[in-house]
């Protein structure tokens, strides 16, 4: 499962709820002191403290947009010139959000790298002014403080944060292929030390307030308040402001020291870090790690290391220069465009374009407590939905319930939730062997064995007990929903919900609608998926839907590559070298070779020779010998519990020898093997769009990246075609077509794009 987990982790790089990113606040320095009560920023003097309040009236989150920057600059200039003011407090009055980052459109709007560099430099300048402010500025943080928002607050003299779960600090720029471009790479290492700074900037992860305090990122924490004489949220912000004002006065009166006495460990760490040799070792280690994980396909992490190094080893002037220049360069890379595209796509796929369903799902029943069923229960039960988990055997049910328990217990161990919260969440879960309570279910998701006869049997049994409004969703990865719905008395209530394993880690949910599925049924399924925290694509019905259908030809090609004598390890290296988080051979083991064989055969029947390539018998023979992949301990590799290193299964050599094919040297270079694999994937994706299975390229990209691990740096198959060039891809495919036949015949839509270079999937 580690492989799939890795896939989940990597896809998360692009997928976390990073909000908009870095950039440069303060574009202009024009002084317009009259604008004290702007639309975004206003300020009030309380005694000798200026309280600067920000709130973007046009958006759910505050971003450092051009307007915001301008007003902030004006207000700060006024604060500095007002003699009655001794100190300032910076606070957001928007619930749940301090500053979520710079305005991403501002960066996208720049035509050249130089323009972006210019933005960065302006940001650096104003934050330098903040840092050198003669009047101490206290940042009072409630809600997300990310990207440029974080760079802003670390330039302030003092930081106070609320303990709200919504209060997170972080530098998510790397997930958009960028770097913290307004002084972040220079200030963070000084503030939290080299290792923590690298961790923050290279992973982009969110840091909660309590952790931020421990790291030295914030000075003081403030509790959130419950009901009082105002709404909790409003009063919490007010309370934070009161404390920040007191604190600002304390700093002016020298009652609160700005420099903290360093602890023994801190002194020791500083001492160790004072050796150039140690620092070089850190750069080397971090660089090595990044190269290993990113295969050098992502330029941003390397540039971040470069900027930090320049700042520390050569001083601030080269450091800031490196930061702004690299920021400009990164903003114009295809990788950054791809990642930003995924960000926008993800936002799109987190909305319900089918509107609100008539009836909210309050009770969800899940059939089958296997890995998938229990996984679905796990992501549902903590959303206030009463969840019924039904299995046919006591042992199966016990295993499933234990899986759900473990999921939440692990969160307890990590202190994300308390044991009490765990227990109260689990009180919403009912495990059972019969259909009692199904008469109250609003939706049933079946996750039973992938066999049309079993699905039909289950569907009939359920329709006998559920109420008329209840929706029947099938979690199948390949069986057409039409065929399942054929046994239904009310096909308008039947829909496909294809989850990916492990359900709690994988973000994608593929929803499959038939021609008979009603719009309200779809709306309800999407609403449930969104509640479960999923990124959702809604696709048309057909064998393999979208995701499985794209994966199948690629796996068929992978089997052929193996038959041509490429060793599984080499195959993995080639695929991961292209940017896939999990190699093709490992992926087959994770999915299960039996499943793969099953799907290959089914889809082979449905689509004919186009889905050929490797011999299905290879997979079948392996399955017959008990090599079903990781779950059986042996597949392409041998899996031993507790061992991370794994060896190629020696027994498969014999099988591969038996089905050996002679490679054609004209199409068997490393690069050709990679493109053979990828082009079949991409061609099938484009065909899905052509056939109307997909409703948009955006959903195609999101589905491929979040569900199948298509390289995030390429942004998905459609963005890949745009960037790589459809003509070039077609040219390659034609070469392979000559050798292998119709499996590489480009589809019409791809040809259209090849013939007209102005045609792009993404504008």
């Amino acid at each position: 499962m580690a492989g799939v987990r890795a896939l989940g982790a990597l896809s998360r790089i692009t997928s976390r709820r990073y909000t908009l990113t870095t950039g440069s606040p303060f574009r202009t320095f024009s002084v317009a002191p009259a604008m004290l009560a702007g639309t975004h920023v206003n300020y009030e003097v309380k005694g000798d403290v200026a309280v600067v309040r920000i709130n973007d009236p046009n958006s759910k989150v505050n971003t450092l947009s051009i307007q915001m920057q301008k007003e902030l600059t004006d207000v700060m200039n006024e604060v500095w010139s007002n003699n009655a003011v001794q100190s300032a407090v910076l606070i957001s009055t928007k619930p749940g959000c301090f500053i979520a980052g710079a305005d991403i459109n501002m960066i996208e709007g720049c035509k050249t790298a130089e323009e972006v560099t210019q933005l960065s430099q302006e940001g650096q300048n104003i934050f330098e002014k903040i840092e050198k402010s003669p009047k101490p500025i206290v940042a009072a943080i409630n809600g997300s403080c990310l990207g440029a928002g974080l760079e802003f607050v670390i330039a302030c003299q003092y930081r106070i944060a609320t303990k709200s779960k919504k209060t997170v600090l972080g530098t998510p720029e790397v997930m958009l292929g960028l770097l913290p471009g307004a002084g972040g790479t220079q200030r963070l290492p000084k503030m939290v030390g080299l290792p923590s700074a690298f961790d923050m900037m290279l992973t982009g992860r969110n840091i909660r307030a309590d952790k931020a305090k421990k790291m030295g990122l914030v000075h003081q924490l403030v509790d959130t308040l419950g009901p009082g004489l105002k709404s909790p949220e409003e009063r919490t912000i007010e309370y934070l402001e009161e404390i920040a004002i007191e604190c600002a006065r304390g700093i002016v009166n020298k009652k609160i020291p700005l420099s903290k006495e360093k602890g023994m460990m801190q002194k020791l760490q500083d001492y160790i870090m004072s050796f150039e040799m140690v620092r070089n070792q850190i750069y080397k280690t971090v660089h090595g790690k990044v190269m290993k994980q990113s295969k050098g396909l992502y330029p941003a992490p390397l540039k971040i290391i470069e900027c930090v190094k320049a700042g520390i080893e050569q001083g601030p002037i080269p450091g800031y220069l490196a930061e702004s220049q690299n920021f400009g360069q990164l903003a114009k890379t295809t990788e950054s465009h791809a990642l930003i595209g995924l960000y926008h796509g993800q936002v799109t796929c987190k909305k319900n374009r089918f509107g609100a369903p008539q009836k909210e799902v309050k009770t969800l029943a899940i059939l089958g407590a296997g890995l998938m069923g229990a996984g679905i229960a796990q992501v549902t039960v903590d959303k206030g939905v009463h969840t019924i988990l039904k299995d046919t055997t006591v042992s199966g049910l016990a295993r499933g319930e234990q899986q759900v328990f473990k999921g939440f217990n692990d969160k307890t161990k990590k202190r994300n939730i308390t044991s009490f919260e765990r227990d109260s969440i689990l009180s919403n879960l009912t495990g059972q062997l019969d259909y009692s309570g199904f008469e109250k279910a609003d939706m049933v998701i079946e996750a039973v064995f992938e066999d049309i006869n079993i699905k039909h049997k289950v569907l009939k049994e359920i329709e006998a007990v559920i109420p008329p409004h209840c929706i029947f969703a099938s979690n199948t990865s390949a069986l057409p929903i039409k065929e399942i719905a054929a046994a239904s008395k009310r096909p308008d209530k039947v829909i496909g919900m294809h989850y990916f394993s492990p359900v709690d880690k994988m973000q994608l949910l593929e929803i499959i609608t038939t021609e008979q599925t009603s719009k309200d049924t779809t709306a309800s399924a999407v609403a449930v998926g969104l509640k479960q925290g999923k990124v959702i694509i809604v696709v048309g019905d057909g064998p393999g839907f979208y995701t499985t259908r794209c994966l199948a030809p690629m796996l068929a090609e992978a089997v052929r590559v193996l038959q041509e004598g490429v060793d599984p390890k080499k195959l993995d290296a080639l695929t991961t070298g292209f940017g896939f988080p999990v190699g093709a051979a490992t992926l087959a083991d994770e999915v299960g070779l039996d499943v793969a064989a099953h799907v290959a055969e089914d889809l082979g029947k449905a689509f004919g020779s186009r889905f050929g390539g490797g011999n299905v018998e290879v997979l079948k023979t392996m399955v017959d010998m008990g090599f079903k992949g990781r779950k059986s301990g042996k597949g392409c590799y041998v899996y031993q519990p507790g061992l991370k290193v794994r060896d190629v299964n020696p027994d498969i050599e014999e099988i591969l020898e038996k089905y050996k094919m002679t490679p054609n040297p004209a199409v068997s270079s490393d690069s050709d093997v990679q493109y053979r694999l990828v082009s079949r994937f991409v061609n099938e994706a484009v065909l899905c769009l052509q056939e109307g299975i997909l409703s948009s390229p955006v959903e195609g990209d999101i589905g491929a990246v979040f569900g199948l691990g298509f390289p995030p740096c390429l942004g998905g198959p459609f963005r890949f075609v745009d960037a790589f060039g459809a003509d070039k891809l077609v040219e390659k495919m034609r070469r392979y077509e000559e050798v292998y036949g119709n499996q590489f015949t480009p589809c019409q839509l791809l040809l259209d794009h090849a013939n007209d270079s102005s045609k792009k999937f993404h504008k």
Binding site: Q220, V222, D223, T224, L225, G226, P227, G228, L229, K230, S231, P232, R235, Y239, I243, E246, C247, T418, F420
Partner: protein
């Protein structure tokens, strides 16, 4: 003009016996770690019971049942009611049990007694409460306990040695009683500080209220109004006859203290919170019929009570706001009918927050589904003889003190109706400060 007897008619409920408070006593409440420090909880409870026997001169076999409330249980005397009753010389034929409900444990003991009498099971019940914070059970770590229990089962020397050999340093770290709410891991003091902040209660307001409590307690003590306190000859020590936590200070002195829970900007300090206290209390509750037959003059009629509970995180200590209007409605009274208010003072901030909540239309409309605010009790009727902040707060024993105080104040001040409100934490083992998920309100009618 409604005549008093008409009111009384509305309070007495048809087919329910009148239930009366005959007498209430308590040991002096002492700061934990002082004169009581070498005792055990049942010693204190025994003293209170003996005091009650002495005051009422009730024959020991007339009592039908004994119920005690306690929070932190001494494991050797888990049914502390029984141990104390036997030690105090009550007949060994009297059944007794112990209840726990955080800081309203003895309220629970009293309402259980009311229930037994109302149901016709008993005619005379002794209820009480005890808390002993000078010594609390500190356990071995779970790991160590597991090893020790396995040791019992080990058969061979080899097994025993290997078990002993498995003991690591981590096994030796002790487990202290939880100082936090089990469900939220938040200490009471922390919760009170957040509550005070939510209602915008300032440090000065809290200090003023605490000072008021201490000053009033001192006055009451000096005037000899605290008649419920009995003298207690502590074995091996002196005779103790008054509370030792009453310390009127000055606002300046109190302002010097640092926040105790939320640092550095919190407002709850040691001076405006109740302190850890040792003490026990006991009351005699009877059916009116039986009391009169035995020639007792009831001190008060126990008319009605209600328990309420709220979200343990953000509304832990807001019980009085929720409970007060409920019990008044049940009894058909309004705030202005009440002559004597006794509210349990867990923290000055908590009391002030409740007073602000009761005074807020917004709060009543948003959280209580009421049309308008509950209204605040007038301060000239409120905790006039001090409260838990100054007298002390032995968790399990406070409830009886409140009820007895109301009865005595009604007599002294010539009032007719009294109202008690006490809050408790949501967790069973909340051994810290009283918080409040459950609120008990007893309405007393002076006769």
């Amino acid at each position: 003009m409604v005549m008093p007897w008409a009111l009384e008619m509305t309070l007495a409920r048809p087919n329910v016996k009148n239930i009366v408070l005959v007498e209430g006593v308590r040991t002096p409440f002492l700061l934990s770690g002082t004169t009581y420090s070498d005792l055990m909880p049942h010693d204190l409870a025994r003293a209170a019971l003996q005091g009650l026997l002495h005051r009422t001169a009730i024959p020991k076999d007339v009592v039908d049942y004994i119920i005690y409330g306690t929070v932190i249980q001494e494991v050797k005397t888990s049914n502390v009611a029984r141990e104390a009753a036997l030690g105090a010389g009550f007949s060994d034929k009297i059944p007794s049990h112990t209840v726990t409900m955080a800081c309203i444990s003895s309220n629970q003991a009293m309402t259980s007694a009311v229930g037994l009498i109302a149901a016709g099971q008993c005619d005379a019940v002794v209820a009480g409460g005890v808390e002993f914070m000078s010594d609390v059970p500190i356990r071995h770590s779970r790991k160590m306990r597991k090893t020790m229990l396995s040791l019992n089962k080990a058969k061979t020397l080899g097994q025993r040695l290997s078990l002993l050999g498995s003991i690591r340093l981590a096994h030796l770290s002790p487990e202290l009683p939880a100082v936090a709410e089990f469900s939220t891991s938040e200490t009471m003091g922390h919760s009170a500080d957040r509550l005070a902040a939510a209602f915008g209660v300032s440090r000065v307001e809290q200090d003023e209220f605490a000072l008021r409590s201490h000053s009033l307690a001192k006055k009451a003590q000096d005037a000899g109004l605290l008649q419920d306190v009995i003298s207690f000859k502590v074995p091996g020590r002196d005779i103790v006859s008054q509370d030792n936590g009453i310390r009127p200070s000055s606002m300046e002195q109190m302002a010097k203290l640092k926040p105790a829970f939320i640092k550095p900007h919190g407002t709850v300090t040691a001076a405006n919170s109740s302190f850890l206290t040792d003490g026990a209390s006991a009351v005699l509750i009877m059916s009116e019929e039986k009391a009169l037959a035995m020639g007792y003059k009831p001190k008060a009629y126990l008319r009605d009570f209600v328990y309420v509970s709220q979200d343990p995180k953000d509304q832990l200590l807001l019980g009085p706001t929720y409970g007060t209007p409920k019990v008044l409605e049940r009894a058909g009274l309004t705030m202005s009918d009440i002559d004597v208010f006794e509210f349990h003072e867990a923290f000055a901030g908590q009391i002030m927050a409740n007073l602000k909540a009761m005074d807020s239309d917004w709060f009543a409309q948003t959280y209580m589904g009421r049309k308008s605010k509950v209204g605040t009790p007038p301060m000239d009727k409120f905790n006039l003889w001090g409260g838990s902040l100054s007298l002390g707060h032995p968790f399990g024993a406070t409830g009886c003190r409140l009820v007895t105080t109301v009865a005595h104040r009604l007599q002294k001040e010539g009032g007719q109706y009294g109202l008690v409100a006490a809050c408790a934490a949501g967790g069973q083992v909340s051994d810290t400060h009283p918080g409040g998920v459950f609120w008990l309100i007893v309405l007393l009618k002076n006769k």
